[in-house]
């Protein structure tokens, strides 16, 4: 009886197994020449590793392979591995990327990879950047919700068709990955600049009719490091993994701040 069961399941199991291998990661005989930035807040240098090339391999797979098979002291950050949490961003061949969803094939140059911590942020160790300045600026840009109601009030109905709601929706899917912040040359040149993500957040909040902090948001984004410093070159929008356009949000902030200055009370 048992024999029969095994015989009948066996071929199906084999078929399932080979299908799984087809979809999963298979090794090829090529190697990738990977330079990984090693060091701490006071500096460091690139270290080279040979990593076996595999099909369907992501940059995060490469980093994990090094840490698991070559050097367990390599530090890096990730959590979800499916593009939700925003914690795995690094510089890859010069551009910031979410590494868990960036396929090696897409960014490989001459079988070489250069992986470094996110630009424009202090380094904690190796590939882990210190995200504090990034999130401090979210608060500085007025990004904390200013509620109009208490928990005892009925839930407000918001029509998804309202223009303001649509503006907010266009920028709301930010996963706080910091890719745009690392991509922005104005952040590089001006450490006080609030940066694309924080300003994008300010814009979505400004368009949220449940938020009563419009005036404080407009004041926060109009200071020396505010939205008016953006050169509208669009590298943030070009590289945002969620295809958001912080540049468009910032253009909205420029427009609204200018109008409210010229026509106070509106």
């Amino acid at each position: 009886m048992l024999r029969k069961l095994i015989d009948s399941v066996g071929p199906q199991f084999e078929a399932f197994k080979s299908q799984d291998e087809g979809l999963g990661v298979t090794e090829t005989d090529k190697n990738i020449d990977v330079s990984v930035w090693r060091g701490g807040p006071d500096g460091g240098s690139f270290q080279r590793f040979e990593v076996p090339k595999q099909d369907n391999q992501t940059i995060l797979d490469v980093v994990a392979w090094i840490q698991q098979n070559d050097d367990p002291t390599l530090s890096y950050r990730f959590a979800c591995r499916v593009g939700m949490c925003g914690s795995c961003a690094m510089m890859v061949n010069g551009n910031p990327r979410w590494t868990c969803r960036t396929h090696v094939n897409k960014v490989l140059k001459n079988d070489r990879l250069e992986i470094a911590p996110l630009r424009n942020l202090p380094v904690i160790k190796d590939l882990a950047a210190d995200m504090d300045p990034f999130f401090d600026k979210w608060r500085e840009a007025g990004g904390v919700f200013h509620p109009t109601k208490s928990r005892n009030d009925p839930v407000e109905e918001i029509s998804p068709l309202e223009e303001e709601r649509q503006n907010a929706n266009a920028g709301i899917e930010c996963i706080n990955c910091g890719v745009c912040y690392a991509a922005c040359d104005v952040v590089a040149g001006n450490p006080d600049y609030l940066g694309p993500a924080a300003l994008n957040r300010a814009w979505t909040l400004l368009n949220d009719t449940r938020d009563c902090g419009s005036q404080s948001i407009l004041a926060a984004v109009s200071r020396g490091g505010g939205c008016h410093n953006c050169h509208s070159m669009g590298n943030c929008a070009h590289l945002c993994p969620n295809e958001l356009s912080p540049m468009t949000s910032i253009a909205g902030l420029k427009r609204v701040t200018a109008l409210s200055f010229l026509r106070p009370g509106n």
């Binding site: 040149g189 001006n190 006080d192 020396g224 505010g226 008016h228 200018a258 200055f261």
Partner: protein, 113 residues
């Protein structure tokens, strides 16, 4: 480094300059038709309130616009800030304004040349 006011000044000066640049180009094309001589230019501009106003406005707009633009470049590339940056911005504005105003005076004031 730009705040809202400098940003607005730069946009407004650009707004003023746009039609003036086009007008200036048109004048150049018309003016060179019969050869370019100083008499011809001065006969048009000397004693003319409107030419003085046109080029005077142009000079003010250029001085404001260029001073703010250079301020941003200097701040981002040379990291100059605070008092030094403000002084430089004013110096560029005043320098351009002085040179421009002198030129406008030279071609529009009667007896200036």
């Amino acid at each position: 480094m730009l705040d809202l006011k400098l940003y607005l000044l730069q946009r407004l000066s650009a707004l003023v300059m746009a039609p003036l640049v086009l007008g200036h180009l048109a004048v150049i094309i018309v003016a060179v038709q019969n050869g370019l001589t100083s008499e011809e230019i001065l006969s048009r501009t000397q004693g003319s309130f409107w030419w003085a106003l046109l080029y005077g406005t142009f000079v003010v707009a250029v001085s404001v616009h260029a001073a703010i633009g250079l301020r941003v470049i200097v701040f981002e590339t040379l990291k100059l800030k605070g008092f030094a940056l403000n002084s430089l911005t004013w110096a560029i504005f005043l320098g351009l304004f002085f040179m421009g105003a002198r030129a406008v005076w030279a071609v529009t004031a009667v007896g200036a040349t």
